[in-house]
Amino acid sequence: MIEQSVTAARAQMPEYEGDTVWSEHEPLIDRIPRWVAMTGLFIAIVGIWYAVTALEIVSNIILPTPMETWSDIVFVGGNMVSGGYMLEALVTTTKTVLLAFGLAMAIGFSLGVLVGETKFGERAVMPYLVAIDTMPKVAFAPLFIAWLGFGIASKVALATFIATFPIVVSTAAGLYAASENERMLFKSIGASRMQTLVRLKLPTGLPYFFTGLKIAAVGVMAGAITGEFLGGGQGVGALIRVSASQLDTPRVFSLIIYLSFLGLALFLAVVWVQKTFVFWNKSDKPGGAA
C-alpha cells in the first residue's frame, strides 16, 4: 500500500537532472589575500603621504617626506645598534615601562582581590578607586615630579598610577566570574574560603585579569612617555620633546616608530602568557565550567 502511494507520488514529481551545487560569489574586495591587502594599503598610505609633501600642500617642516623619515629611521636604528645615546634613551624608557608594569600588576592585583573578595573592599575601597579613576590621571604628573624629582622614579610613579586601575577593575570582575553552580560545588565538597578563592575564583577570573593587563600595557606606555615629556630625564619621551621643539619632525616620527615596537612587544608578551596559562579558554562546551 505505502509502496504504491510512494511510487505514485514520485511519478507526479518533475524530474531534475544534475547536482544542486550552489555557487556563492564573494565580493572582489573580500577575495584579496591578506598580504596583498596589507602591502597594498601600506603603499597607498605612503603614496598619499608622498603626494601631500611633493605637491607642498603641507609645509615640509611640519610633515617630512616619506624618504626623509625612512632615512631618519635608519639613522636612529644605526645609533641604537652602535650603542649611542638613543639606545640609552630606549633602555631608560623600557626600564620605566617594565618597572611600572610590574608595580601596577602587584598593586592592581592586590587591590583587585581586596575589592572583589571582601565586603570591606567592596564597600570602603571601591568608591575611592572609582573616584580617583574618573580624574584625569595625567594631571597628577607635576605632583609626582615634585615629590620624586626628575629621575626615573617620577615617571615610574605616573605610569604605575595610570596602569593600576584597569588591573584592579578586571581582577575584581574576574573574581565574580565563577558561576553560582561552581560556588555551590566548592561549598558542597567542603572547600574553605581560601581554597575557593585560589582554586576556583582566581583561575576562573584569569581571562578577565589578562584583559586588564592588555589595557594596562597600553596605559603604562602612555604614562611613561607623558612623564618623560613633563619631567625631562633620559627617556625617549624627552628626546621626542627636544626634537619637536627643534622642528626635527622626521626624528619625532622615527622615535615614535621605535616606541611602538616597545609597546607592541609588551602587548604581545601579555598575549603569549595568556595563551600559555589560560589554555582552556578556547571553547565553551557543555562539559566546561563556562
Binding site: 567542603g190 582552556w280 565553551d284 557543555p286
Partner: protein, 264 residues
C-alpha cells in the same frame, strides 16, 4: 546484576527531616516539611517550580541553613557540608583547567590535600571505568560531551564514598536519549552501592522509573502533599515505561500536580 527485593518498611531510617521551615523575608519557601529516607531507599521529590524542592535539597545537603526544624543524617545533625553527603547538580560544573581525573579527585584534594588525591587516583580510575569513560581520564572537560561530563560528575560525587546521594535534576540538561540511558546507569550504581538517594526532578516518568517513593510537593507554602510508593520490581528497565501500571502511576501524579498548579 541480580534483582534485589527491598523491604523499605523494615529498613532503618537514615535521613530524617523534621518540621523543616525556610523563610526568605516574608516568603515561606518550606513549611514544616517532614520526610524520612530509609537505608538504601531511592526517594524522589517532584513538584511545580517554586515549590521549594531545590531549597529542600540544599538544606538537606548542608548548603543552606533552615529557619527552623532539623535535618539528621545517621543520628548526627547536618550543620554544614559533610563528607558522607554526595551531591550532583544540573550542570556537570567541571573545572576546565583540570583533566577528567583531576576533576573527579577534586573533593579529595580539597578535604585531604594533594597527596591524598594522588593516593586516590586508582579509585578514581575505577569509578571512571564503572561509568564507561575510563579512556577519557586525561582529557580536559572542553572535549567531553554533555553525557560524558555528567558521568565524570557522578564519579566526583562517588569518590568520597558518600552514604547518601543528593541529585538536583542531574540529567535535565541532557537530550532525552542520553537522559534515559544515564538514568539506568544511575539505578545500576545506586543498587550496587546500596546508596540512599534523593532526586529532585521535573520529569514524572524519570521519578517513577527511578524512585521507591515519590514525594509530591505543593507550593505556597512548600510542603509535602502526598507520598506515593512505587512497587515496580528492581532492576527496572526502560521497557517498563510502556506498561499499563507505569502509565497509571504517571497519570495519577500528573493529575495531582495539575490540580495543585492549575486548580483543574
Amino acid at each position: 546484576m541480580t534483582a534485589r527485593t527491598r523491604e523499605p518498611a523494615e529498613a532503618r531510617p537514615v535521613y530524617r527531616i523534621e518540621r523543616l521551615t525556610k523563610t526568605y523575608g516574608g516568603f515561606t519557601a518550606l513549611h514544616k516539611v517532614n520526610l524520612t529516607l530509609r537505608k538504601g531507599e531511592f526517594g524522589a521529590v517532584i513538584g511545580s517550580s517554586g515549590c521549594g524542592k531545590s531549597t529542600l535539597l540544599k538544606i538537606m545537603a548542608g548548603l543552606l541553613p533552615p529557619s527552623s526544624g532539623r535535618v539528621v543524617l545517621e543520628d548526627k545533625p547536618v550543620l554544614g557540608p559533610r563528607r558522607d553527603i554526595g551531591m550532583m547538580f544540573q550542570q556537570a560544573t567541571l573545572l576546565p583547567w583540570k583533566t577528567t581525573l583531576g576533576n573527579v579527585l577534586l573533593p579529595i584534594e580539597m578535604r585531604d590535600g594533594k597527596a591524598a588525591a594522588r593516593a586516590a587516583e586508582g579509585r578514581a580510575e575505577e569509578l571512571l571505568e564503572l561509568v564507561g569513560i575510563g579512556r577519557a581520564k586525561h582529557v580536559f572537560p572542553g572535549e567531553l560531551s554533555g553525557g560524558m561530563a555528567q558521568r565524570a560528575a557522578i564519579c566526583r560525587m562517588l569518590i568520597s564514598d558518600p552514604a547518601v546521594l543528593l541529585l538536583d535534576e542531574p540529567f535535565s540538561a541532557l537530550d532525552e536519549l542520553t537522559r534515559d540511558f544515564m538514568n539506568m546507569e544511575l539505578q545500576r550504581i545506586c543498587l550496587e552501592r546500596e546508596a540512599t538517594s534523593f532526586l529532585v526532578t521535573h520529569s514524572i516518568p524519570e521519578a517513577v522509573i527511578l524512585a521507591d517513593r515519590i514525594f509530591i510537593m505543593e507550593a505556597n507554602p512548600g510542603r509535602v502533599a502526598e507520598i506515593i510508593e512505587i512497587d515496580l520490581p528492581r532492576p527496572r528497565n526502560l521497557d517498563m515505561i510502556n506498561t499499563a501500571k507505569f502509565g497509571e502511576i504517571v497519570h495519577h501524579i500528573r493529575e495531582k500536580l495539575g490540580k495543585e498548579a492549575f486548580g483543574a
